[in-house]
Symmetry: C2
Subunit: 471 residues, 2 copies
């Protein structure tokens, strides 16, 4: 090593100490960074250094300059978006992954990475109760996995001709009006065209209405268009609504459509027997993604993508340049052909560390506790006369708003002000959405370190800020 | 933390010790893993554990089961593919990144990550001497960056209509016959269709012949097709050939084509004044990618992607879901709109650590030394009567073959046997390619830890194995 071996060890220990203190002292930081746009940039030199600098100095600058500009995703009072949990075993695994520095594009470039990925993804399949025979692969994000699904659906619908000839006639994609923005992005990238994406209306729980899907498919068929793919969501981003897989799957089967399931956040809940109902009808699913990097304590990035027919996936993505051929290609899994990127990090290791460290029961316990917190919070909202619950609470997200009886326009403004006043305290970080045009505050209670007291403190802060605003 | 704080610290130290010993003791490992397909998998339980297991046990299994299945990319005798260098400062930064566990999709979710990315990419632009005004963003891999370029070119060529309507008429993409497979993959994904990708012939140095490009564009125009994008390569994967940017850029400007440059490996060489010639004509480049994770000592994954017009990039990828809107969107860079994935790791940190630790001069020294090794190796090949140099050596890759005067079919077989016999020793790892149908051995001399003696040992091993084979 060019950096002296003992110097590396010394700073390695220091950094371990720093991470240890950081994780156990997160309560002392504001959750959302309090810096203003340009504040960090203005402290950094506009040109790179000619000579090397000492690690001591770099570390000091990291603490002084970078940390104030960090929004602390692992904070116990993180209630924004969905969480991106890490965990001590996952961090330790990431250290080994970085140290080994393997690039895992094909089996030969790291046999253990390829085979561990195969094993751990099969563990995950069992843990969620996905249908036997589904095969898993790690993608970086759910955005990528959904794009991969759309591309495979595109190839399937064109007898694997679009890759060769481009899309000669329009294929149509369906998702609920509450679907994630990555579906629109994927539809554009894959060349379907945004105008061939249909947003299906949702019911009172914000879940896709299957009969409306059926109608939309029929309508397109009559127009001479070719329906190709349905994206169902288990746990929408706005409100964790659950599209009903069983009737949607039946429609897909009847019309010969690819069924992709985006369970990015809520998929983890299927580790609980009492939440397994979300997967009812999964036997008709062609592809399924959920993110261990959200609610399963595994460092971002790590999306688990499962397919019924790996052959269709590989046929969509395989390439055979001479410089990547090996004598073993017929006997092994070369994951470069299972997605978009050629290069791949060794991401199975952290999953292996997490699942083994917590065990299935340990993970169940954590997820169950988060769901209990959300139910508790939901009851507080329902009991409070100035607050209104805005969506069902099936998992660990609660959607609510301040409602003192005025019209929606006024309420939207009030809630926007409430949210900003909460986040400015630095004590919590929550984000918003809109549901049927109403501005709604979301509290996602699923950080690994969140305890009941953090949820109670958040509620106290919310009610006290609300009282100020209503005054 | 659920894992006891002191236990985390204890294993943190242990893992730092392990990484320290690993990196300084890599000479003791076979470079290419010696396991057989299925050997690792067969040692892993087919079901996940119900209860959590101790970190002691997991660490032991990591050492006993996983490590034998690792091909050691950081080994000083790694000569395969291109390297994926890490470095002590980069590993240390990855530890902090994992510990913080931030998801950096937009400015608000970590202002320091967004602003550090902006600053460090500008440093890289200066270090390579890319045109002023080009703006950088980190992508995961060059495959992704090239896809992003193709998509932006697609939108530009259709007045930003393909995203909305799909591709209504064929657009044509051009690259040399030696281009990387990611171009074909990107062309398929983006819906151009493989049949609309033209491979342009190359000259004796395996570089694109500009006049042949011009002819191909004219021919397509006459057919009523719409030429859209040219991908030029600086440092092809097979032989590090350099497509001449100046004449190619002139052709692109004349025909109104997007010019994307794939400099994944060789881009780093532009830190050297004496290699800056590869960028002659860069003022006509629309997008440019190189991989600090290859030759610039930064842990995989980290691709630096530069564009002349960020507006076109953002217009291609932007999405505006309600749950991601913030009050600051007009003042800051939200990198979710600069690529495919929504979620993003904090990858600027490791680049910052690497550039500051080594300084520009330190990085230049390392790259220059690798190039010297390659020149040395090239001379040995040229002087040896049984070996033949197969391509020019501009950087740190040497393409050669054993040639005792027999026909190509026999030689192809001989060289294949030579390569396998070398790799089976575990002492080196090299890979192959084909050039004009000839099987060629590639030696990529660019691992951070490679010293002159490793290159000499490799040559001794090659000549001795060759003598055995020729006997």
């Amino acid at each position: 090593m060019d950096m002296d071996k003992e110097l590396f060890r010394k700073f390695g220990y220091k950094f371990i100490d720093w991470v240890t203190d950081y994780l156990s002292g997160l309560d002392n930081f504001p959750v959302r960074s309090q810096v203003k746009p340009g504040e960090i940039r203005s402290q950094l030199p506009p040109e790179p250094p000619g000579q090397g600098e000492s690690m001591e100095k770099i570390f000091q600058d990291f603490k002084d300059t970078i940390i104030p500009g960090i929004t602390h995703w692992q904070h116990p009072s993180w209630f924004a978006y969905f969480p991106a949990n890490n965990s001590p075993p996952s961090i330790l695994a990431e250290l080994l992954t970085a140290g080994i520095g393997a690039q895992c594009m094909i089996w030969q470039t790291s046999p253990a990475a390829a085979e561990l990925e195969e094993v751990v993804l099969e563990w995950l399949r069992q843990m969620l109760g996905l249908p036997e025979g589904m095969t898993g692969v790690i993608q970086d994000t759910a955005s990528t996995a959904t794009l991969v699904a759309l591309l495979t659906a595109r190839e399937k619908a064109t007898d694997f001709n679009a890759n060769q000839k481009g899309l000669k006639s329009p294929l149509v994609v369906y998702a609920s009006e509450e679907t994630h923005s990555s579906v629109e992005k994927g539809v554009k990238i894959a060349g379907f065209g945004r105008e061939n994406l249909r947003y299906i209306p949702t019911d009172d729980s914000f879940a896709m209405i299957p009969s409306k899907l059926d109608e939309a498919v029929e309508k397109d068929k009559k127009k001479g268009l070719q329906p190709a793919c349905v994206v169902a969501t288990l746990g929408t981003t706005s409100s964790t609504a659950v599209d009903p897989l069983a009737p949607i799957g039946e429609i897909c089967r009847r019309h010969g459509l690819w069924l992709h399931v985006d369970a990015a956040y809520a998929g983890t809940a299927a580790v609980l027997p009492e939440k397994r109902w979300i997967l009812e009808g999964a036997e008709n699913v062609d592809s399924f993604v959920f993110n261990p990097h959200k609610w399963m304590l595994t460092n971002f990035d790590c999306s688990a993508y499962f397919v019924k027919d790996p052959g269709a996936l590989i046929r969509t993505f395989e390439i055979h340049p001479e410089y990547l051929k090996t004598g073993l290609d017929s006997q092994v899994k070369n994951y470069r052909d299972w997605g978009i990127q050629l290069g791949r990090r060794f991401r199975a290791l952290k999953l292996w560390f997490v699942i083994r460290s917590y065990g299935v029961e340990g993970l169940q316990k954590i997820v169950r506790e988060h769901i209990r917190f959300a139910q508790m919070f939901k009851e507080w909202v329902e009991k409070h006369e100035a607050f209104e619950l805005m969506a069902p609470v099936d998992f660990s997200l609660v959607c609510f708003r301040l409602n003192d009886g005025r019209n929606d326009e006024v309420l939207n403004d009030l809630n926007k002000r409430l949210l900003e006043s909460l986040n400015q305290t630095g004590k919590v970080f929550l984000t918003h959405t809109t549901l049927r045009g109403k501005y709604v505050i979301r509290i996602a209670i699923a950080s690994r370190t969140t305890q009941e007291r953090h949820v109670r403190e958040a509620w106290d802060l919310i009610t006290s800020k609300a009282a100020e605003i209503l005054k």
